[in-house]
């Protein structure tokens, strides 16, 4: 697909791709959760994420020339046209990795969407208003699980600490503030990501302390997602996500 979106569109696609890729990953839990009640809970989060992705793609696609619909954006872009954080494409791993990832991202996402409800882009403002309630619930859910696992059994503590250590290097990407993020901040469409960092650290620190988990000292972070550079896992996600519509490009589903 010929595709060179402007910075404004890139910013919306970044938000949408985060939501879709995370929703795609979470939905892998469907039918395989640790207990029925949690199977249902994690699918709710997946549904919210994919719902947000749809609204954002629709908004992004409408502003493009020619206009594209949500499915064209989700199913016909190539890997380096996806602008999601690399953390979100990592395999689910165990319940600890899934929920720690969720906690890191939800905490960031809540701070971000809180500010998006004041966006200069009215459509984005409306989407954020709806999404914020969902994300607030997700953030509470994942923080509670981090505490429960950190302060649960010896095994759960070990698994939670391992997940924190493993995922920490991917959190740096949240706060990169160049390119479309800088442009969105100038337009007052979105907060500058680096502005969110102090609050994020504060919240994350508090939960990790309550959970009895150690915050990694590492300050060397992975990068790439915002520029369309992904981990080895991304190709497999897209292969699964996209294969059917690409096999029958002329079909309606």
């Amino acid at each position: 697909m010929e595709f060179s979106p402007d910075l404004r569109t890139q910013h919306l696609l970044h938000l949408a791709d985060n939501a879709l890729i995370l929703g795609q990953r979470l939905s892998e839990w469907c039918g395989h959760g640790p207990v029925l009640e949690q199977d249902i809970a994690i699918i709710n989060t997946a549904l919210d994420q994919i719902g947000q992705a749809r609204m954002l793609y629709q908004h992004a696609g409408k502003g493009m020339n020619p206009a594209l619909d949500e499915d064209q954006l989700a199913f016909f872009r190539t890997e380096n046209q996806f602008l999601n954080f690399t953390m979100l494409e990592l395999p689910n791993g165990d319940w600890a990795q899934t929920l720690v990832r969720q906690f890191f991202f939800d905490t960031y996402n809540y701070l971000q969407y809180e500010r998006l409800t004041e966006s200069s882009d009215p459509a984005l403002r409306a989407i954020a208003g709806k999404a914020l309630k969902e994300i607030g619930y997700h953030a509470q859910f994942s923080a509670e699980w981090v505490i429960r696992m950190g302060d649960g059994t010896e095994e759960s503590h070990k698994r939670a600490q391992d997940a924190v250590d493993r995922l920490w290097p991917y959190t740096g990407e949240f706060f990169e503030s160049d390119g479309f993020s800088a442009e969105a901040a100038v337009r007052r469409a979105a907060p500058l990501p680096s502005d969110l960092q102090p609050h994020w650290e504060e919240k994350v620190d508090a939960v990790l302390v309550e959970a009895g988990l150690k915050k990694p000292v590492l300050q060397w972070f992975q990068t790439g997602g915002r520029k369309g550079q992904h981990t080895e896992h991304m190709g497999y996600i897209l292969a699964e996500l996209q294969f059917l519509p690409r096999l029958h490009p002329e079909a309606q589903w």
């Binding site: 939905s27 892998e28 207990v35 992705a53 793609y57 199913f75 696992m149 302060d151 309606q252």
Partner: protein
């Protein structure tokens, strides 16, 4: 049932059983703490737990396609649908628990391969069209059964069914809509739809269980008003309703003997391959092993999660107790 049979029925039991039958005959509902014949309780536990297992195992063949759904709208619909099935499993385990069993015990039976679940879920879903066929036919057949069970004599089971039936209404429409798009779509899509119908038609008819003559427990269940219609009645209703829906799609049902019988006012249909049914129930279907392995894996890998939550809850309760002592 056997443990009851072995006991010499006392005159008191005979009196209570007669009163119970009378009560049920009067279309009254039985509630958890009411007196009920041991065999009634046992039959219900078996039936409700099998039903619950079916909902939960039934998530797997469809969950298989959530990641590959061909549009975002289809993806959320399928995800919500499969999530509902988890909810149905949960409602049903809850209903079974009112009879004095624990979900864990029921689950252990399933994981040990000792409990049955609907054999339809042991068939594979190699194609997207299977999501259409399952919603349309498998949920359709399940709904026929579940609508009947909304009037079952055991209160908690009936109430679970009412909730489930409300939620099911979108499942079948979701499936039929997939079939509609495929059958009106490209030649490849239409072939996909026909292939799925070919594979799911007969297993769907088997979902209603053996013919009435071969179904020994049915008569007693009907007397207790656990079941309200026989297997054959429900199967016939399903066929009569489904054939015109297939015609509307322009798909052909894979049964050369299928034709309208004016005199009966029903469709006649060809013989069901009960040997296949028996084999799949006995564990020899294409996916029996995979399905159980998937459930076992989820349960085993979830154990540390469930333990952690319990351990944390206990610590919290202790801390609360300590602070209130200090205060």
């Amino acid at each position: 049932m056997n443990s009851i049979k072995n006991q010499e029925p006392t005159s008191e039991t005979i009196r209570l059983e007669a009163r119970f039958q009378n009560y049920v005959d009067g279309e009254n509902k039985v509630e958890p703490k009411d007196w009920m014949p041991g065999a009634y309780r046992k039959t219900l536990i078996r039936q409700i737990s099998q039903h619950a297992h079916s909902e939960v195992v039934g998530m797997l063949p469809e969950a298989n396609w959530i990641g590959r759904a061909p549009s975002l709208r289809r993806k959320v619909a399928l995800l919500a649908k499969v999530q509902d099935e988890a909810g149905h499993g949960l409602y049903l385990y809850s209903a079974a628990e009112t009879l004095g069993v624990d979900r864990r015990e029921l689950l252990e039976e399933l994981l040990a391969g000792k409990a049955k679940y609907s054999s339809i879920f042991n068939y594979p879903t190699p194609s997207w069209a299977d999501m259409g066929a399952i919603g349309w036919l498998v949920d359709g057949a399940a709904i026929a059964n579940q609508v009947m069970l909304c009037r079952t004599s055991y209160g908690p089971y009936a109430r679970a069914m009412v909730k489930i039936c409300k939620e099911e209404s979108f499942h079948q429409r979701q499936g039929y809509e997939i079939m509609l798009y495929l059958s009106k779509g490209t030649p490849a899509q239409k072939a996909m739809a026909q292939d799925a119908l070919n594979r799911w038609w007969w297993p769907s008819l088997m979902m209603f269980g053996p013919n009435d003559a071969e179904s020994p427990n049915s008569a007693q269940s009907m007397r207790w008003k656990i079941k309200r219609k026989s297997n054959d009645e429900l199967r016939q209703e399903f066929i009569d309703k489904t054939v015109p829906q297939a015609e509307f799609l322009g798909l052909s049902i894979p049964d050369p003997e299928l034709r309208w019988n004016e005199a009966r006012g029903h469709y006649d249909f060809g013989p069901i391959n009960w040997e296949e049914f028996k084999q799949v129930v006995a564990g020899n279907g294409p996916c029996n092993r995979e399905r159980l392995e998937a459930r076992r894996k989820a349960d085993e890998e979830g154990r540390w999660v469930r333990e952690a939550a319990n351990a944390y809850a206990q610590k919290q309760a202790q801390r609360r107790a300590q602070t209130s002592e200090v205060a």
